[in-house]
């Protein structure tokens, strides 16, 4: 087994025992990264930075001053600003942008001794569910359907992160999740991804999409790894006014494997019309696993579930249209070549038309429309009221004693790249049907790989937790992971 296939937990233990050096581990990942170009997961490689960080990590390990993430090679989603390193949110409008500052999440990971291998592919501005809106081209799922060599999506928007982790190009990766962008790609690639409670992880230095929904989290090979890495990412940050001033528990210590007496809610509204039988069967399997572990299974109702997607597709574009107003060709990024006599308005219009891709333009336009005079109440305010009701649905079941909620993570397994090319934007949005409620309510949610479908592709289940209870949520996920015993890896073709 090559070092790049290790989990964070195994690598940490080997590093601390001196059985492995951070430099050797990093070299192993750099080799895997270079051999993985066909996946188009890494879009900017930083081998010099990685080796410098690895040498520093080895020094810390030798000195006995090594936090859990010390020497762990990571991929960083292109949405995170990294000092001096291109950070363009997979958009042409940020072409050439090299931030003069470091995001809080990467700052924390680097302070803990982590190693950055490079920047990872994603949907443009995190708007997409298939990584097909990226300016870098598609990231490719390392998984294939049986012997069919058709390229599949790794999901989105954190598609590069998911592909890189599933293919062992790195030990783990950062992701961000506005409507399912960590959990859906994790499910499509057979890895673990957690979106923390809104406010648990600082958004400072993460390129903004929809500020009331965005949250960063780890994408890893195991639940234990997610617990370790989340601990290093989380915590209060004075630079993000919505970041919560709460202490960060030891998430790994919470993985007791004991959920006896806990109440797992099964929401009847998540049984969608036309849901594939395999997804339903997987869900039932997960329910049985939780019951066998001693949890009480309870049928619950979240009556406004159906309205989560339409509410999301009002609120997220509204916030995006406001956030993306900053890309005007003045302060950073792309500026269009102007014709004789063009003024500032032409500069804005041409710059934004050239710099933003089709899906981003569509969402800005939808957001502009729903916020415009005469429609603000009918769309935006109504959506915010529905959002309050969706949040109330969850508060009600938690108040009635539910500890965690079990649902499918996605309505299907990974689909083929290009297969949705003729679908309407709304059909693509349906990918988020099980995940988007969690963002609207600000809750933590985790996707855990549970099985393979008939085509041999991974399927995941989602657990949703109480606000700020990532520790309890990860313990539930740990029990599910152990019971499912998912150990499959994609057959290497790249």
């Amino acid at each position: 087994m090559n070092a790049n296939s290790l989990t964070i937990a195994a690598a940490r233990d080997a590093l601390r025992k001196g059985e492995l050096s951070a430099v050797d581990l990093t070299m192993s990942c750099l080799t895997a990264m270079d051999a993985g170009d066909a996946l188009n997961a890494f879009v900017y490689k930083t081998p010099e930075i990685a080796l410098d960080q690895a040498r520093a990590a080895d020094a810390r390990l030798a000195a006995g001053d090594a936090p859990a993430m010390c020497g762990i090679p990571l991929g960083i989603k292109d949405l995170f600003c990294t000092r001096g390193v291109p950070s363009q949110a997979a958009s042409n409008i940020l072409k050439g942008f090299r931030p003069e500052y470091e995001s809080t999440v990467t700052t924390r990971l680097f302070e803990a001794g982590s190693v950055m291998l490079g920047k990872l592919n994603m949907d443009e501005f995190a708007m997409g569910s298939s990584n097909e809106t990226s300016c870098y081209g598609n990231a490719v799922n390392p998984w294939r359907r049986g012997n069919d060599d058709a390229a599949l999506t790794p999901g989105g928007s954190s598609g590069g992160s998911a592909a890189a982790v599933a293919a062992d190009l790195c030990l783990a990766a950062t992701g961000t999740d506005t409507g399912g962008s960590i959990r859906q790609p994790a499910a499509f690639t057979g890895i673990v991804g957690i979106k923390p409670t809104y406010g648990r992880v600082s958004r400072w230095g993460v390129v903004a999409f929809a500020s009331s929904l965005d949250q960063a989290g780890p994408m890893t090979k195991s639940v234990r790894d997610a617990a370790i890495m989340l601990g290093a990412m989380a915590g209060h940050d004075p630079k993000d006014s919505t970041s919560a001033d709460l202490s960060v528990p030891d998430f790994e210590a919470a993985l007791t494997g004991d959920i006896r007496g806990k109440v797992i809610g099964i929401p009847r509204e998540y049984r969608m019309d036309g849901m594939p039988a395999e997804i339903e069967a997987l869900w039932q399997k997960g329910i049985a696993m939780m019951r066998d572990a001693g949890a009480e299974i309870r049928d619950i109702s979240l009556p406004h579930t159906k309205y989560a997607l339409p509410a999301y597709y009002v609120i997220a574009p509204a916030e995006a249209s406001s956030n993306l107003a900053r890309y005007d060709g003045v302060k950073y990024g792309h500026r269009a070549r102007l014709a004789q006599g063009d003024g500032i308005t032409e500069m804005y219009e041409k710059t934004r038309a050239e710099g933003f891709g089709a899906e981003v333009q569509r969402r800005i336009l939808v957001g502009t429309y729903v916020l415009s005079a005469g429609f603000y109440d009918a769309y935006y305010n109504r959506a915010r009221k529905v959002r309050a009701l969706i949040k109330r649905d969850f508060e009600t079941v938690f108040a009635e004693g539910v500890d965690a909620i079990l649902t499918p993570a996605t309505p299907s397994s990974a689909f083929g790249l290009g297969e949705m090319a003729n679908a309407s934007p709304v059909e693509m949005y349906l990918n988020d049907v099980f995940t988007v409620t969690v963002n609207l309510a600000g809750l933590p949610g985790v996707s855990v790989p549970v099985g393979l479908d008939a085509q041999g592709l991974p399927l995941g289940l989602q657990l949703i937790g109480r606000p700020w209870d990532e520790a309890g949520l990860l313990n539930h996920a740990h029990v599910l992971e152990r019971a499912a015993g998912f150990v499959s890896k994609p057959a290497k073709w790249w």
Binding site: R98, P99, E100, T197, G199, S212, P238, S241, T242, A244, H304, K306, Y307, L309, P310, A311, Y313, V314, S321, D328, G329, V330, K331, Y332, G333, H334, R335, L338, D342, G343, I344, E346, E349, K350, R352, A353, F356, R362, I364, L365, V366, T368, Y369, V370, S372, Y379, R382, A383, R384, K385, V386, R387, A388, L389, K391, S424, P425, V426, G442, P467
Partner: protein, 95 residues
């Protein structure tokens, strides 16, 4: 609610995104599809419900109103498409 070509043109103008005339019909059709999807929200009884403004019920932190940063002009201008004499440069705004 369906969006006609005129409305699509107006929204593009508001958003400061140039959309070619030939692209407007398709755009209007896609926007209409998205808005029709949103119209399901009209089925919900929202009488007496306050619009959600903050995700978690907490008071946002405030910091002291003091200067904590500055003297980084070169860094601020580093990524500008065009900078001159310590300023961002743009096409003529006022005739």
């Amino acid at each position: 609610m369906s969006i006609d070509i005129e409305t699509a043109r107006k929204v593009a103008k508001l958003a400061r995104i140039r959309v070619e005339e030939a692209a407007l019909p398709k755009l209007a059709e896609q926007l209409s599809g998205i808005l029709t999807f949103m119209e399901q929200l009209n089925e919900v009884d929202v009488e007496g419900v306050e619009p959600m403004v903050s995700v978690t019920p907490m008071r946002l932190k405030r910091r002291a109103d003091v200067v904590t940063d500055g003297n980084i002009q070169a860094q601020v201008l580093k990524n500008a498409p065009e900078a001159r004499e310590g300023f961002f440069a743009v096409p003529k705004v006022v005739e």
